[in-house]
Symmetry: C2
Subunit: 380 residues, 2 copies
């Protein structure tokens, strides 16, 4: 027997086991190998290096050669292999974005802002969803770094666990935080004035005469209550809670913490239970502040089911001027955040960094605005 090459061994194995895969493979049409610079070069009668220069648009070349190469490329339908290109240049022309919940229109809008700026600057966007889960965030980051993205935009799911983010910064890859800051972590950050926003909204409620005001947030946690010993892990949530509490205290409301509740991301059932329980208490709140529009929508639905009229029995204010908030009955008063602008801003900062900007880390706070509609009234 002659020496058995790996190939013929595979072949024998397939035959002896009656493997169907092989016959499938045999049938599989053999697609043309994608054309490379080398193919173009040969056809244009120049060296690989020369062809690469005109194709990649970096070196000089005579008019004659340039024309020949371009013609050959078109004739062969040459498509550059971005992978190979990225490998030598070290640049992928891609930025990675990790958001908490892609289905939340807040992130949808922010991502559009990011994409618009990215594409205008010749960058592509790889989007990953953490589902507000820190482990998913870590693995997403791992993948994006593995793909050698040029920079990262992240809405960190947890401010306690930031080793993976610090590792990114240490490796020299630009990172910008969106919507949430990380205490003690000096890196470019774009957020809104969450504290002011919550303070203003809550003040609006206290001024209307409310004394029992609930704050319902989205972030999943072990317990429903915030003041349960479990720390608040997201800066924007913390800021909002503080603004909320400040406004309550300033209005002389005692123990406002008791009305703070958490729902869960993508867990409408759980949130509904929380709201139902909240409103079933004997001295239930007369006003609710919702931390985002999906929370608010669920609260709205639940109140509707419970036949609790807005704003007659309960007033409602929500973060995020989602599109539906103006068509409900009543339309709901919201805190308008410049989300699209935030997306643009965060992408602009990132791209500057990718292009070599070494200025000190910027902390960018954007203003919000209260849009008063008809979901706020005096308490019953």
């Amino acid at each position: 027997m002659r020496p058995v090459s790996k190939k013929s061994y595979y072949y024998l194995d397939a035959l002896s086991t009656g493997n169907v895969e092989l016959s499938a493979m045999e049938k599989k049409p053999t697609y043309p190998r994608p054309v490379t610079v080398n193919d173009v070069a040969k056809r244009a009668q120049v060296s690989k290096a020369t062809a690469a220069r005109v194709l990649g648009g970096y070196g000089g070349a005579s008019e004659d050669v340039r024309r020949r190469v371009t013609a050959a490329a078109k004739a062969l339908d040459y498509k550059p292999n971005e992978l190979a290109r990225s490998m030598t240049t070290g640049k992928s022309g891609t930025i990675g974005v990790v958001v908490g919940d892609i289905e939340n229109s807040f992130f949808g809008l922010a991502v559009r802002g990011i994409s618009d700026v990215a594409h205008a600057n010749g960058f592509n966007v790889i989007l990953a969803n953490s589902g507000e889960n820190i482990e998913a965030e870590k693995s997403a980051l791992e993948v994006l770094v593995g793909k050698r993205v040029d920079g990262l935009i992240v809405t960190p799911a947890h401010s306690g666990d930031t080793a993976h983010l610090k590792a990114v910064v240490r490796s020299g890859r630009p990172l910008v935080l969106l919507d949430r800051s990380l205490p003690g972590f000096h890196v470019d950050t774009v957020v809104v004035d969450d504290r002011d926003a919550a303070f203003n909204a809550t003040s609006k409620l206290t001024e209307a005469g409310h004394r029992r005001i609930a704050y319902v947030s989205a972030v999943k946690a072990a317990a429903d209550h915030f003041p349960d010993g479990s720390p608040i892990a997201i800066s924007s949530v913390l800021e909002r809670v503080e603004g909320f509490l400040d406004a309550c205290r300033q209005a002389g409301i005692a123990d406002p913490e008791r009305w703070i509740r958490r729902g869960g991301t993508n867990e409408p059932d759980r949130l509904r239970a929380v709201v139902t329980a909240l409103m079933s208490e004997p001295d239930h709140p007369t006003a609710i502040l919702a931390s985002d529009s999906v929370i608010a929508l669920e609260i709205f639905k639940t109140l509707q089911i419970m036949k609790i009229p807005i704003p007659a029995a309960v007033s409602l204010i929500s973060f995020h001027d989602a599109d539906w908030t103006s068509v409900t009955n009543p339309p709901v008063t919201v805190i308008d955040q410049p989300i699209y602008a935030m997306g643009r801003k965060v992408a602009e900062i990132l791209i500057d960094r990718v292009n070599g900007d070494t200025a000190p880390a910027a902390f960018c706070v954007m203003k919000t605005r209260l849009i008063e509609r008809q979901s706020v009234a005096a308490p019953p």
Copy 2:
């Protein structure tokens, strides 16, 4: 309230002292070169090939070597370069998705379905937005193919211009169409029964006694009217229009085409103008069928502004059971599409193809369901 500077742009470094990371950054980006298999190999005292085998998990290796390499990798914090890996294997572990409008919750949900299946199978998703623009679609495709995605999911923006899609198929890269089919283009496709859905919804309106029914679609075009000589370029739109017309004709309505209108994607002003014009005609329609939820929302708002009561003066049915449709006043009757399931299905088909499935192209039609709420009544 906490003072916020007008420019809302702070330099943290100016406030904090002695930030090591940043002062290092001010110098030059002399970051440590990322560690490679070679580095690991050297540290573990084995050859590059051996280290690569255990790191890549493909070849065999003795227990001793395996342990040494693993330890070295951990000590050096080795992160594989996916780019390099993809280049030799030809597989990137990534699927590309091109949707019409990422902000439309229809696509948001579908993308979540796709992502869930993709990630469960070890694939990553690169998302691109065509904005229903055929040129943007082409360029997105170009980029994704350049990045050597393993497969593509596309919602084609135009059924007349499909050369770029055919080129993808010809190159052997799996492609699956979502939500829209392409006539004469035999490739895996996942759609809903648009024609039936439109027929049923329209029938519901005719049964309620309506004779003047408008169909408002999202797709941008040169003119407002469909029957203007410009062909309908998207299969699902065409199917819906046909279902709509069939139902009208079956109810004995003459010239139903006159009530067909187009808005525009991401052009609320334009759509509002269309609706306003439509409803300002002397014999304006008494019912409207909206082709998706963002269209419906805009129609809803416009009618509200015009003080045209729903359903007293005008009945409304919309495609897509968007979350807000149940909280409006009145809640709107919708055609529920299994969007998330469609996303999952389309990803499953694609991944099967990537894994070598060579079965003939599948055409998958999913059923819709009419959810009756309170936006339909008899005409005034």
